[in-house]
């Protein structure tokens, strides 16, 4: 695989995480538990889709086949999406949605910080923009997680259950395959062990305050980065891509 192909896939990995999480968060629009949170989740969805758009546009440029951000978002098949399985998990209750975002935020912030030093100037510029938003996201999800964990018996139970159920999807965030290692050597991608250290510190600090228990590392789900997704992914794409599939080239 050439470095150009590796960079294309690397952009897609990041973009797809953000795009699919954004789609999941947007499903809360009009269903938030309180108005402020309805607004918060849709705001977050907007930030994620903004970063995803930048990355998909760049991916299209790197690929050099004239594909636009829309082509890559709406006209790829399930097996061509390379997001982690964490972000495709259904929303569940509010604790589940918050824990899913918290785990992602704890990974996304140090990743964006590290990418601002990437030797690839466009990736660095995109990350420079995202890092400020990512700080805000982590603050939001951490605040809620502490409130749930240190709240009532019921909110604590639900937050812990969400954490236990989602933990198996965190391993995939830090897998460094050959493609990734090649980009680390080129100074384009950061070493994920450093990102993992930051993730661990954030998780430990917030969980301690939230009086929640960090699950023990066990079986870790994988396959998302290779396009092998769970049964939820097809439903997400069916909804997300419907318009462009039914009316190719439709614009408004």
């Amino acid at each position: 695989m050439s470095q150009q192909e590796a960079l294309f896939t690397y952009c897609l990995r990041q973009a797809d995480d953000l795009l699919i999480l954004s789609h999941r968060l947007s499903e809360w629009c009009g269903h938030g538990p309180v108005l402020e949170e309805d607004i918060a989740l849709t705001n977050r969805a907007l930030d994620h889709i903004g970063e995803a758009r930048n990355l998909l546009t760049y991916a299209g440029q790197v690929e050099g086949k004239g594909r636009t951000e829309d082509d890559l978002a709406f006209l790829r098949a399930e097996r061509q999406f390379v997001n982690t399985k964490l972000v495709e998990q259904p929303n569940g209750d509010y604790a589940f949605t918050i824990v899913r975002s918290f785990l992602f935020d704890a990974y996304h912030l140090p990743l964006a910080e590290a990418l601002t030093k990437s030797s690839d100037t466009q990736l660095a510029a995109i990350a420079g923009k995202a890092v400020k938003e990512a700080q805000y996201h982590l603050r939001h999800s951490s605040d809620w997680l502490k409130r749930f964990g240190d709240g009532t018996e019921e909110s604590h139970r639900r937050a812990q259950a969400a954490l236990d159920a989602l933990w198996t999807f965190t391993g995939e965030l830090f897998v460094q395959d050959d493609l990734h290692q090649g980009l680390v050597k080129a100074g384009i991608a950061p070493d994920l062990n450093a990102i993992k250290a930051s993730f661990d510190a954030t998780v430990d600090n917030v969980l301690a305050e939230a009086t929640l228990k960090r699950p023990v590392d066990g079986f870790m789900a994988s396959g998302g980065r290779q396009g092998k997704h769970g049964e939820n992914m097809g439903f997400i794409l069916a909804e997300m891509q419907y318009l462009q599939r039914a009316y190719p080239g439709a614009k408004w």
Binding site: I39, L46, G50, R53, G128, A130, K132, E133
Partner: protein, 166 residues
């Protein structure tokens, strides 16, 4: 509408840009918001460089179209508006006049990013744009648009938007 006569200059283009408002906060112009990073004039060609406030902010496309329309209406045919990401926009680029106008419009302006509280991730002391009281509290980190948070005043009891410090 101002029709330009005589040669196009950067100063004149900037005068025109002062008429282009932020579509979501129409109290301030794109210049006062600090999104215009450069204006280049080459004979009759005008290149305006803007930087997005928030990556997903839907107002950016509107601003781009509004800038093009304002300049076209003034008789400048050859206009290009390009977006750059780096250096990333910061609320420090909102001009002093822009901040004053935000406040008059009922939106608490952002504190400076080098404010020690902002650096430590603590909540800033935000003055109520309605009554001026500093006895205020945050209701939600996210507000009516990507750039704002929701606050309330404990003195006059009015809710208000705060421009997030970024």
């Amino acid at each position: 509408m101002v029709m330009l006569t005589g040669p196009i200059t950067e100063a004149r283009v900037r005068e025109l840009l002062q008429n282009v408002k932020d579509p979501e906060v129409p109290a301030i112009s794109v210049l006062e918001l600090g999104v215009v990073r450069a204006v280049e004039v080459n004979d009759d060609k005008v290149l305006v460089t803007i930087t997005p406030t928030y990556t997903g902010c839907p107002a950016m496309d509107v601003m781009k179209a509004d800038i093009e329309k304002e300049l076209h209406d003034a008789g400048i045919a050859d206009v290009c508006v390009q977006q750059v990401l780096s250096p990333a926009w910061t609320t420090d680029w909102i001009t002093t006049e822009g901040k004053a106008k935000l406040k008059a419009y009922g939106i608490a302006p952002p504190e400076h990013t080098t404010d020690i509280r902002a650096l430590k991730g603590e909540l800033p002391v935000v003055e109520c744009p309605h009554c001026g009281s500093k006895d205020t509290g945050m209701i939600s980190l996210f507000g009516s648009t990507a750039c704002k948070a929701l606050w309330k005043c404990n003195a006059c009891l009015e809710p208000f938007d705060q421009f997030k410090c970024l």
